[in-house]
């Protein structure tokens, strides 16, 4: 036990003196998180900015009035309607965010079943609000069209013209048979900032643990492993010391990244014990993976390359840079990725979940660790023991 702690302490001291662990495990991920958060933070947060809508429509056109009223009072976006001769010019000049041109004779065209397309001009400031308003307008225009369809259908079915008008009104006034009510979603999805912190912490954890177990190969190359084995220390203790080094480095780096990240970007990951359990499971999974790498690689350089490749593939497919919207079999494969499981677990805790709710992601990470440890016993040893 004493030998184990001594070797771990020596390794940790060497790693801290060697600046690479500080650069790779803390400086680079923090710099990337900050920059990506600055870039993506402003893009993805779905907030509705108020919109200035420039409208050109005949003042006495009934349905144009209904359309404008519907847009002015959506209940979703705060809209200021501006009467305009040329909405496109207003939008291009920046004095309105969105322009709408209702063609002349709009009501007459719709009631007689003719085409009368409403034109929208989307400007720089319209953003998501513009998108929503265009969709609302689409719904209103479809409703007008519904009345025309009803009138035509009445004629086709052989009803007299008077009945057609009544039927159109009935369709517009009818109580909707199918109604949608907004349900409560479980809030397990991380915010953009939270996703970046979790993803980058998971990705760089893969690099950080490499500084532990992969040190076995460096020790072999430098000849210090042979000297260690000449002492009254079991090989298993030497390996355990490397694994412990990796585990401590991973634990400290990930905890620092999550803490600093959440403070910098105002993200709350929720229950500390649950987050702690997730970090432990993630570090366990990442450290176990290095046992596979150490069997595959002959030289320290090879080990670093294999470790980097696995880290980047797992990081990217685990959503370290962008959320992966995979479904089906591919989605299941992505779910088994420890970085994806770590991010998913943090989503659950940030949504208020505790230790009881993170069973699945923790099981995935622990399962990954077990598979790696078993694989490392089965894979022929090309490196350290030779």
């Amino acid at each position: 036990m004493r030998a184990l702690l001594t070797m771990t302490a020596v390794d940790l001291r060497r790693r801290l003196r060697d600046k690479s662990v500080l650069i790779f495990s803390l400086a680079v991920p923090l710099a990337l998180m900050t920059v990506l958060n600055l870039l993506l933070g402003g893009v993805n947060e779905g907030e509705f900015e108020p919109v200035d809508l420039a409208v050109s429509a005949e003042s006495d056109d009934e349905l144009a009035g209904v359309l404008v009223d519907a847009l002015a009072d959506t209940g979703i976006v705060d809209v200021t309607v501006i009467d305009s001769e040329d909405p496109r010019a207003e939008v291009q000049a920046g004095s309105a965010d969105l322009g709408m041109v209702v063609p002349e004779g709009f009501t007459a065209a719709l009631t007689s079943g003719e085409e009368a397309p409403v034109r929208f001009v989307i400007g720089d400031g319209a953003g998501l609000s513009g998108q929503v308003l265009v969709t609302v307008a689409q719904g209103v225009v479809e409703q007008f069209r519904g009345a025309s369809v009803a009138a035509v259908a009445a004629g086709t079915a052989g009803l007299d013209p008077e009945h057609a008008g009544v039927l159109a009104e009935q369709v517009l006034a009818a109580q909707a048979q199918v109604q949608l009510e907004q349900g409560e979603a479980s809030s397990e999805q991380l915010s953009t900032g939270g996703m970046l912190i979790a993803g980058q912490a998971g990705l760089f954890l893969m690099f950080t643990v490499g500084f532990g177990v992969l040190g076995l190969i460096t020790e072999r190359e430098e000849g210090t492993l042979v000297r260690l084995r000449s002492m009254p220390v079991r090989m298993s203790t030497i390996v355990a010391a490397k694994a412990l080094t990796a585990f401590v480095l991973g634990l400290v780096a990930t905890s620092v990244l999550l803490t600093v990240g959440s403070l910098l970007f105002g993200v709350d990951f929720g229950s500390v014990p649950a987050v702690g359990a997730l970090v432990l499971a993630a570090v366990l999974a990442a450290t176990s993976l290095t046992f596979v790498v150490v069997r595959l690689a002959r030289t320290a350089e090879q080990a670093n390359v294999v470790q980097s490749i696995i880290a980047l593939v797992l990081g990217m497919s685990g959503g370290a840079f962008f959320p992966i919207t995979a479904q089906g079999v591919l989605g299941t494969i992505v779910d088994l990725n420890p970085i994806a499981a770590f991010t998913r677990g943090l989503g659950i805790t940030s949504g208020g979940g505790g230790l009881g709710e993170i069973g699945v992601p923790v099981a995935i990470m622990v399962g990954f660790a077990v598979v790696c440890l078993v694989a490392s016993r089965l894979i022929p040893n090309r490196g350290v023991a030779q």
Partner: protein, 387 residues
Amino acid sequence: MSAAWAVATVELRRFLRDRSNIFFTFIFPFMLVVVIGAQFGGGASNGRVVLTDDSSALGQRIAAELTERDLTVEVSSADDARETLARGRADVGVLIDADDAAAFDTGEPVQLEMISAASSNASAVAQLVQTGVDELDREQAGVAALTDAGVGQEDAAAAWQDAEEQVPPADLEVVDVDEVSQAFAGVTGFDVGASSQALLFVFLTALAGSATLIDARRNRVIARTLAAPVSVVSVVAGQVFGRWVIALFQGVYVMAGTTVLFGVSWGNIWLCVLVLAVFAAVAAGAAMTIGSLLDNEGAASGFGVGIALVLAALGGCMVPQEIFPASLQFVSSFTPHGWAYRAFAEIQRHDGGLGDILGPLAVLVAMAVAVLLLGSLLLRRSIARAL
């Protein structure tokens, strides 16, 4: 000159012999092009909706309305749907159970639960789902009204379908004068992703080479080369040339590969190569500077990868520069990636000629001269320094 050439070819040979480069140089850039292309490619879909049933009449009718609105419809169980939404893999979910389907069939009112994800697109998709359901409601109401007026059920449904075909669709005309949309008009996500990845990897590959330079210094390769009748200028020139060839090779490889694999259109190829060549010179200078300043390979590769990724992000290679806030667009002007990105945007998307990219090119040349001078100076000084 021949000595400089010899040093450069040795550097290139060492690079090609290193098997790790098979992944990082030849495979990894394409993986990122696919991921970024898929992220910003847009595609034809307006969003993703998950339904819990598409076998009943209600489920089928809703699915048809949503598909007509260019929404991608997926079907899963209610629990899976909630999880899919929670994890941001769909924008909106509509929960339909057996009771709802049965009620719809008998003409009774149905209330369906609609759940929105936290995605930025969710509200707009929810609006589209609402318009789809409204359309379905109108048809139901219309057929019911016709039946009440004495028309048979089947004739009423047929009359409604017939009328649907006769009345022109209620399409809107949408004109986008938004600068971002204009900037990306006619390009695919792969086009933007490919030029960004070319720049990212040119710098990344070059800076990763800074560790090789430290290795050469540590093993006294440079000192031994200088023991031969070779001037310091030739050795430094050889190192610069070697790094530059590797960086340019990486860029041209990404260009060629993405053209063949993803059909990326680059505009004027020779102008693109010119931009890459000048950009690669900046990268080579930066690699020499790091390789001369630091004395530890691990630290140099960590620092190199970090700097390469941060500069790439700030220069618009991870998120398109056009959607940056104004303050970050200003910051991007201090990165070589920022200027090279603008030059590529001009050539690729606006058929720009040499005259159109003179500004960005001049800034890149100035950056290259400055960083190459600094790198050469530091390398000359570092040769005398013990490691």
